[in-house]
Every structure is written in C-alpha cells, then in structure tokens.
Homo-oligomer: 423 residues x 2
Amino acid sequence: MGLVVQKYGGSSVADAEGIKRVAKRIVDAKKNGHQVVVVVSAMGDTTDELIDLAGQVSPIPAGREFDMLLTAGERISMALLAMAIKNLGHEAQSFTGSQAGVITDSVHNKARIIDVTPGRIRTALDEGNIAIVAGFQGVSQDKKDITTLGRGGSDTTAVALAAALDAEVCEIYTDVDGVFTADPRVVKKARKIDWISFGDMLELASSGSKVLLHRCVEYARRYNIPIHVRSSFSGLQGTWVSNEPQGDRKVEQAIISGVAHDTSEAKVTVVGVPDKPGEAAAIFRAVADAEINLDMIVQNVSAASTGLTDISFTLPKSEGRKAIDALEKTKERVGFDSLRYDDQIAKISLVGAGMKTNPGVTATFFEALTDAGVNIELISTSEIRISVVTRAEDVNEAVRAVHTAFGLDSDSDEAVVYGGTGR
Amino acid sequence: MGLVVQKYGGSSVADAEGIKRVAKRIVDAKKNGHQVVVVVSAMGDTTDELIDLAGQVSPIPAGREFDMLLTAGERISMALLAMAIKNLGHEAQSFTGSQAGVITDSVHNKARIIDVTPGRIRTALDEGNIAIVAGFQGVSQDKKDITTLGRGGSDTTAVALAAALDAEVCEIYTDVDGVFTADPRVVKKARKIDWISFGDMLELASSGSKVLLHRCVEYARRYNIPIHVRSSFSGLQGTWVSNEPQGDRKVEQAIISGVAHDTSEAKVTVVGVPDKPGEAAAIFRAVADAEINLDMIVQNVSAASTGLTDISFTLPKSEGRKAIDALEKTKERVGFDSLRYDDQIAKISLVGAGMKTNPGVTATFFEALTDAGVNIELISTSEIRISVVTRAEDVNEAVRAVHTAFGLDSDSDEAVVYGGTGR
C-alpha cells in the first residue's frame, strides 16, 4: 500500500455535510493502509463570491492582491476538512500551497508550477498524519508572493504533488462518474471510459471535454502519474488515465476513445489576403502579439485568377474582440479585403490513437456527418484526432451521429472493446 | 513626517463601502507625507461565520486547524483593502502575519508575540508602498504553523509592528470616538478623554473598559509607543494614550481618569475554611491548576470562636463551572464547609493616578455609593484604582453616582481639568 493523492473539487465540499462525507472517504483510504495526501478546492461558490467582492472595491483588481484574496477560499475548506477528519479520530494537518512547497513563477492569476518541495508534507505523513493541501495556489520563487494557478489549478496541484511524492495514483474526485465517450448531456448512450491513454485524454481535453484540463493531463504524462477520475458521491470505479492499462488484464487499445464537442469558439476569416510569402505570418504575428491562442487554422488554396486567398482560424469567443482589433490594425500593411467574425459555430472532434492504423476512420466520420445532414466548414487533423467545424445548431445531432457510427453507444452490439476494468 | 501604523477593526471594514471609505483615509495619511502601515481585522461577522462553520464539522475543532481557518478572514479584508487603495492610484501590498514577520509561540488560538521581523514591510515601504498587514495572526517560531493571537489580537499586532518599525504613533480606529470617562451607554454625560497615561489606561482596561485591551496597552507601554484611539467614521481627534501628554501644551495629570464597570464576572465564596497556614494556598493552587485567572480576592478576618474564615474571589463567569469543579475536589483535603456561587454581581472601578496624592478619593467614592443606596460586598485597591463589587442590578446607578461625584460629567462646573488637546 503506497501513497495516494486525492483531489476534491468545490462541489464535493460545498457545505459542512459535504466536508464530513469527504472526510469519511479519506479516512477509509487511510484505514486501507495508504498514506493519504488530499488536495482540496474552495467550497462551492466561495471563489465566485470573493471575485464579486473584489469587483465591488476595484474594477481591475491587482493580480497580486487578487491571488491573496482568492487563496482564502482553499484556506477555509482545507482547515474544515482537517477538523472533520480529526473529529473521526484520525490525525490530519492542513497546509497552504506555500507550506506544501508548491513553487511557481510570478504570473499572478495563472502561475505555472516550476518546482514542488513537499518536505513538510513528507514529515506530516511520516508522523502518521493525513495531509490536506490547498489546491490552486502556490508561492512565487523570486518574490515569495502568493500566486494562483488559474483554471483547473487544483487538479494540477494534485498531479504535481503526486509526482513530487512519487504517489502510486492521483485520484481526481468530481461530481461525475468519470470520462465519457461523449458528453452524457448530449448523448444519452455515452459510456464511461474505463481506461484511456494520456495521449487520447490530452486530445479530448483540448477538444472540449471538461472533466480534466489539458494542463493537468500533460503534467501527469510527463511524470507518468496514473490519474483515476471518479465520483465523490459513489464508490464506483471511474476512468483511469495512464500510459498503460492498470491492473492484470491486458487490453487492446480502443480505436476510438470518444467524441468531444466545443461551442466556446468563434471563427475569424481574413478575406482576400495577397498570396505572397510573409502575409500569413504578419497576420498571425498580430494575433500572437495580442496574446491570443488560436486553435484550428485553415488557409484556402488561392484563386489563380486573383492571387488572393482566405485564411480562417478559430479562437475562444472571449478573445474575439481583441483579435479583430489587432487584425484591423494590420489591414493597411497586409492589404487584405475584409474580416468576417462568426460565433455561431461548433467544433466536433473524434479522438483515438487507433485511427493511425485504421484508414477507414476519416471516411466513416464524414459519412456519418453527411448522413445527418451536417455541413462541414473547416477540417483539421492530428495523428489521433479529426476535428471539424459546423454550425452551432447542428452540434448535438452531429455528435450523436458520430457516436453511433463508431459503435460507441452503450447498448450497441458493435461496441469497440474497451480497455480494462481498472482495478 | 514619520511612519504611522493604523489599525482598522472589523466594523470599519464590514462591507465594500466600508473598505473604500477606509482606503480613502489611508491614502490621506500617505498624501500627508507619512509612511503608512495598516493592520486590518476580518470584515464584520466573517470570524463568527467561520467559527460557526467549524462547529458544523467538529464539536471541538483542533487548535492548529482552527487558526488556519480563522486567518482566512483577514486574508480577505487585507487583499480587498489593498485593491481599493490601488484603485485610488496609490501603491499597496498586503501581507499575512507570517509574511509581516509576526513570530509567536505555539499556543494556538491565543498565541503570544515573541518577535517581530518586519523586513518585507520595510522593503515595501521603502519602495513607496502602503503596507497592509493581517491583524490577529502570526506564525509559530518552532513549527512554522499559523497561529492566532486571541481576543484583541489585531490591536496587539498593530502596536507590535509600530514598536518594531519605530513608528511615531499607532492609531487604533474603531467605531467610537475614543476612551470615555465611563461607558457612554450608561452615563450620558460621559466625556471623551483627550489624553490618558499608560498606567491609568491599563487599570481601566482590566476593570471592564472595552475600547483597548490590557495586553495591547501593556505592549505599547513597554516599547513606549503612543496610541491614538479614534473613530474611523469621523475626522475627530480621539484619545491619546502615552507616557506623557502629546503636543505642545503642558497639562496636568487628571486626579481621576474614569469609572469602569464590569458585569462579566461571578463571585465564588469558600465558606468555613480552617484558618491555618496553607489552606488558602491549597484552594488557589486548585484554581490555578485549572488554568483560571482570578481577579479580586478577599479573605475575611476569621472568627475567633470558630477558627474558621471565608475566602471570596471573582472570576469570569465563563470559568465558573470549571472553578467549582476544581474546588469540589479539594473539599475533603482542605476541610471547608461549602461553596457559594453568585453570578449576579458587578464590579465598579475608579481609576486615576491622582488618587495616590489625594487622600479624600476613597472617602468620596464610598460616600457616593452610600448616597445612591448601593451596598458594597467586596473591596480591592491598587495604588491608582479602587474597585468594589455590588449587586448587578445596582451597577448603572452606582457608575452614574460616582461619575458625578468626581466631577466627570461633561456639563459639570466642577470638571477636573483634563490632559491636552492631543494634536
């Protein structure tokens, strides 16, 4: 029995009852002989309430102070969780990110972890304690200021601690049963995935699956820390994310892991760009200088008669205004005709390492969409993913059609054999 | 223009509007050329809400975790205050007790400050910042755990920082105009005291005056840091507490500084104690072993016929049960008759360094109580204080009678000349 890191999100510790329920689960792991490190998020809506308070005193809160404010949230939940565990007769100590040795850069509100020195956690464990650690926060290496890690930060804290402590698994507890072959709210027949590789999980995460964030999975893959995503409300096995299937059973890699969709993006088209070297570069430099991350990028073949081409890309809707402003400033220099902005789009992605060696996948994907009457506007592929952009209104039908076409529906006889039972 | 430390209590920063109001006041001090360090308490009822949450997860919260929890309160208020100041165009940085170098012992929930190493505060000031520091909290020297300082802790933080930074004054902002000659809720004619010595303030604080706690005044006297108690809701001068009157005017020490009362105590009488050496000691050892602080102690002259005496003392009502239990256990050994417990008492104290050299004070005090028909049950005196215990129901009348008798009423022609105008 080794060391496990467990992470509980805000919905699992939303109130005193939730905290007591989670405390019992933690104590169970300890009773099973594990050393247990728990990473906890702020309770329920605490973070939103703190953000609201900040807005009341300052329209643009300073980054350093904003981080100081937000980190109060985990401080509350972790102290209460430690109390609840001690009330069950087990020793527990809570630690801030700083005390746990989570060292970050100085980029407030979205700091990156650059080192983890969990000496105090190790000592607490060796003394028989359950260690409770504040998620989402750290301390900057140069100024010793409190930082926060941004979206999904608590998951990243958990994986980083698991890596630094050489944990046998990082359990991410959430309010769903695991990672599904598609969003169960859209596809009723979506199935829980028992095991998925880091590579496929990364593609799903960057294609709109919300259960794990890309950043956390990437960290886990780099240090080869198995992640077990599961519900804090049930005792069920969830989804294992790792290099190899867990447990004794040797299982075959699934051809297709799942279908993800994303309606948070918009499409920008730069119309009538002179097809000369350097023009596209100038456009993307302008967008990059505005610190906007693009997703899909497609350049049409230029029309021979005009020597002009169109360049389209997708980006988060929240960045749309900034991108348009940045591009307008380059219009004279680049000499394009116009800009089109379209936020009524959806992205549908098919992910699976098996598609590398199964040439029929792309054809099946497009046929399914065609049969469903869904028009494809952009296409982008990687070795283990195909993504298309469609009209937003078609997204649910498109996801269901693709899910069925690849035999992913839970009651389908054609179901691809899925990996392992976990353990 | 030197360095000032300002402390704002929870009622001054109860909501976003309060925080913005306080921010303006802080910026005014900065504009006047001061270096400004601000110590802030948790917002309004935050601490009570956190205590309530703790009670929901554990009937007896662990000290270490309880401190971790409570310190979230100041974290929120200090970050918001720093944001509000920055929003007014001035630089501000917030610091936890640990970051500010407030080093304490390891007694959770009521830690004592044992050192202050404000290196980061000094740096922040030198860089032109206003430094905002979390009151009430520190970090333990041995284990580096977060501690809280107990009741009145934020005032103590402020005075300790003022001493460590060699501030010219420690301003304690509160929701009253200063220290009064009596509780204004009881004595309508009570007057604000312009200046009071550390010694008299210490006696008032230990006699029931709530504005400053004994501990904070004692710290200020030891390091000779003038305290200015004033309202955060007005621009008025408040009460200066120092060794010597502030400002240019030489003023006379008042004979009487004020009248304090306290209804939070109870009286225990041990009846029929054998009047032999060691009996009283055994009684007080039992109480001390239960970690109960006694206040007044009176031993009656023993009756020659019986060789028995009665011993009475007062103590906080909250300690009553514990004291009775401890004493019951000694009954056999000490051989006393019985215990009496009376929580319907009040203590009335007259404080003033002038009484040392004014022999009529005691007589005037007792005459005033007699004229008001108030019966005296216990008497205890120090060089600069006389305290009596009366029935609780008589307390308001007794305080008013004494206040008037010593010419303290605000419209009285006989008013004792009071010290200074502050500045």
